[in-house]
Symmetry: C2
């Protein structure tokens, strides 16, 4: 980045601001194939931190990692009809290898239910083999027709996909709640992102699932975006793939299954929700650099200031804080402030001649841009405490955004009035007809039927008694 200009105005044009942020902060770049993006090192490092956290939580649940092939024969993908119907419009097909045409088309995995369950049927024989809980960290391809948006909706993304098989429906359904709670915890405690938890309407449910339990987030433009989710597959796949086990009672039974995933989309959500017109704002727990030290010196006091910077870095690193000193001599301090604000580093420490003389540092919070004088002695403690303050403030701000972008309405006039730029909380009879009509007339979908139910009006569309309170929204 040779020159710095401000970003677009986030409030006025969220998506243009977002696209520009991703480029300028060097988070991602485009390849020559539309919808296929490069995750650059700065964003990838955040992904690595998230995967490490999530992977250890997944392993604590007794799930083991494995790797299943990238390519799925068409005949296998066809086995579960709803599943095929859902995914075939967006499947990338390999039809040639070297100079030969293949006998059968091979799908690049859009998700791995079919290829995994084909083997589950071989591996599972008795109740002793259950539960079988596997996970893989892989890339998937979904050739979506809608306009790709880097991280938020790409044609290739990275994810973990967990696939579990149980002897009973009860165990499987318990896991659905556990998994979504785990996702919620990672989003809240590491990404400072508040979520709504609930289930999808049947229309919006994962192709082949009995129901889909999701985390939902609200973007700054009032559109919602589905976060990590868990699908209860019931016995749909086990019936089609003949995954049976001999139970303790001597009977042959079909297993009960779930699948669940957490994707690189989370990065885009986090960048989009937290950032401001100066750039990224990264949650301290997963920021690649947590503290950037900018030494400010004249030629005369350069050695003393740089020595002080080094010493502070050593002290911070002793406490496990990821620290970087920007000692570039061809850039002015003001340029560096802008640069690290664009990069979203949670805390900047400025060390100048005057700070040195006063035995203190100037600490600047990225989330509020507030400047704080901190004594040399207390610096480490203060910075560690500030991380929590920043995290909580970021979470609180995101929560207020979510609340301010959620409008509660009990009539269709208000629905139409607020639906552009907001998530709508209202009540719904549960019929597909109303859902379809609303989609057609306003562009909004049922984004989530939240766990917290409060029926406060009749169906917003047909006026019949409502079955659910529900969120409608335009979605990413």
């Amino acid at each position: 980045m040779s020159k710095q200009e401000g970003l677009q105005n986030k409030k006025e044009n969220f998506i243009e601001w977002y696209i520009e942020l991703i480029q300028k902060a060097e988070l991602a770049d485009y390849s020559k194939v539309r919808g296929f993006n490069v995750i650059r090192p700065y964003a990838y490092e955040i992904w690595e931190r998230l995967t490490k956290i999530l992977d250890s939580k997944i392993k604590e649940k007794g799930v083991k990692n494995a790797y299943f092939p990238l390519l799925i024969p068409e005949s296998l993908l066809k086995k579960e009809a709803t599943h095929l119907e859902g995914f075939s419009p967006e499947t990338a097909w390999v039809t040639e290898a070297g100079s030969s045409k293949l006998d059968e088309r091979l799908a690049i995995r859009p998700t791995s239910e079919t290829i995994m369950y084909d083997l589950y049927s071989k591996w599972i024989r008795s109740w002793r083999d259950l539960p079988l809980k596997l996970n893989q960290w892989v890339n998937v391809v979904r050739w979506e027709k809608t306009d790709p948006k880097v991280f938020l909706r790409g044609r290739e993304f990275l994810w973990q996909e967990g696939h579990t098989a149980f002897a009973t429906k009860e165990e499987a359904e318990k896991e659905v709640r556990d998994i979504v709670n785990m996702y919620k915890e990672v989003l809240e405690e590491y990404c400072a992102l508040p979520v709504t938890v609930g289930i999808k309407s049947p229309k919006e449910t994962f192709a082949g699932a009995e129901y889909t339990r999701v985390t939902e987030l609200v973007m700054p433009d009032g559109k919602t975006i589905q976060g990590p989710d868990c699908h209860h597959l019931g016995q749909k796949f086990s019936t089609m793939f003949d995954i049976t086990f001999l139970d303790k009672d001597g009977e042959k039974k079909y297993v009960w299954q779930n699948s669940w995933g957490f994707t690189t989309r989370v990065l885009g959500i986090m960048f989009g929700i937290h950032g401001d017109d100066k750039g990224l704002i990264l949650p301290p727990k997963i920021a690649p650099i947590q503290v950037v030290i900018v030494p400010i010196f004249t030629e005369k006091d350069k050695p003393a200031v740089l020595k002080e910077a080094d010493e502070l870095k050593i002290r911070l690193e002793e406490d496990g804080i990821r620290t970087y000193i920007d000692s570039r001599e061809d850039k002015k301090p003001g340029w560096k402030f802008n640069y690290w604000e664009l990069k979203g580093v949670p805390i900047r420490v400025e060390i100048g001649t005057k700070d040195l003389a006063n035995d203190e540092y100037t600490v600047v919070r990225r989330d509020t841009l507030e400047k704080i004088k901190v004594s040399r002695k207390d610096a480490i403690d203060r910075i560690i405490k500030l991380f929590d303050v920043i995290h909580n403030n970021m979470y609180q701000r995101a929560k207020e955004l979510m609340e301010s972008k959620t409008k509660r309405v009990d009539n269709y006039e208000d629905f139409k009035k607020y639906v552009n730029g907001n998530r709508i909380l209202t009540c719904w009879c549960g019929n597909r007809k109303c859902e379809d009509e609303i989609k057609e007339e306003t562009g909004a979908r049922v984004s989530c039927i939240p766990d917290e139910q409060e029926i406060f009006c009749n169906c917003v569309k047909c006026g019949e008694p409502a079955k659910y309170s529900v969120y409608f929204a335009k979605v990413y």
Copy 2:
């Protein structure tokens, strides 16, 4: 695994033994597409341990991780002619997405030089941007015509691919040596695998490279297999992809590049070299389970024996040792011994009534099957020391295997006599003609021109003065 039978005889038929081992020890399984295999949890966990070790060494070198797209447009793959020629016979092509034909065929990456360097040309502007050192951990597809062998030669495999760009040839060439040393260290210190280090003949060099520096290993049947390698690309790609930088002297120059990779093939090499007719033998440092405790009890002393097993497990885990107690009641001790020998766990501890009375354990080494009585008090120390002893013994055995399977010959009669079942060390004039004729007449290739050079005869084929001492072998 419901029933245990012995494996094939490794000495008599290595490859059948190997294929059976992979299945029985539940390391991998087949998918419906030939050459595309599932890496099962037990093998995947070893891969995870290896990647963690290697990833931290890579990061210590200042290399950053990133992610580049899976699909490469044909026009991009075509930019470097030798590279295309090398890879196009084994490229899987995506030609359709959903119900549409694509305008241009997209290759599933067989390796990522072209897609990465297309962006390097955009990112690199000045000497300040150098060196650029990126790495990615991904899957690749190479639709090889030769018979796929699980892990050793698959049509899809996992790897890391590092891609670096430097201002000078010297820096790039220094890195080539550093990287191969790093690979050698991981193979020797963690996998207990001795390697030969050298370069490939021009004929066997990576498509598009100036030279390829490799680690080479010898399999139990005397065939060689190429281990992790590093390609010095010189300026071949930078010229074609226009990757230039403005140097300190104000001149525009092309960068010097390397690429280097470490693949899941290493798992197969390790399983194949160390295993015996009872199953796997895993190096202690990367074994998923390092110690398995088998309690042996009658109904009467069951509580005391199980309590003792639990206590030992806690003591071992306090020292970071990965421990598992096999307390299954539906299996007899003898069955368990066989099972864990098949799984290659480095140390088995048997705890029976008599051991309890004597305040000792029976410790069994997997590598030698030797039984050792160890006092309760010294158990942890003894076991930790045994890990080193086992590792060193495994390394030594593998080294002896390599030496015994390497025949030094100075004439073509002996060459032909020994080439089946051995690696041949001999001398070569360096001409492609001799290399081709030897390949045609014996099936052996130049597998490696080793660093350690000793010209002890004329060219084994044409009798002219030799340029190199060299290994010829049939290769995996």
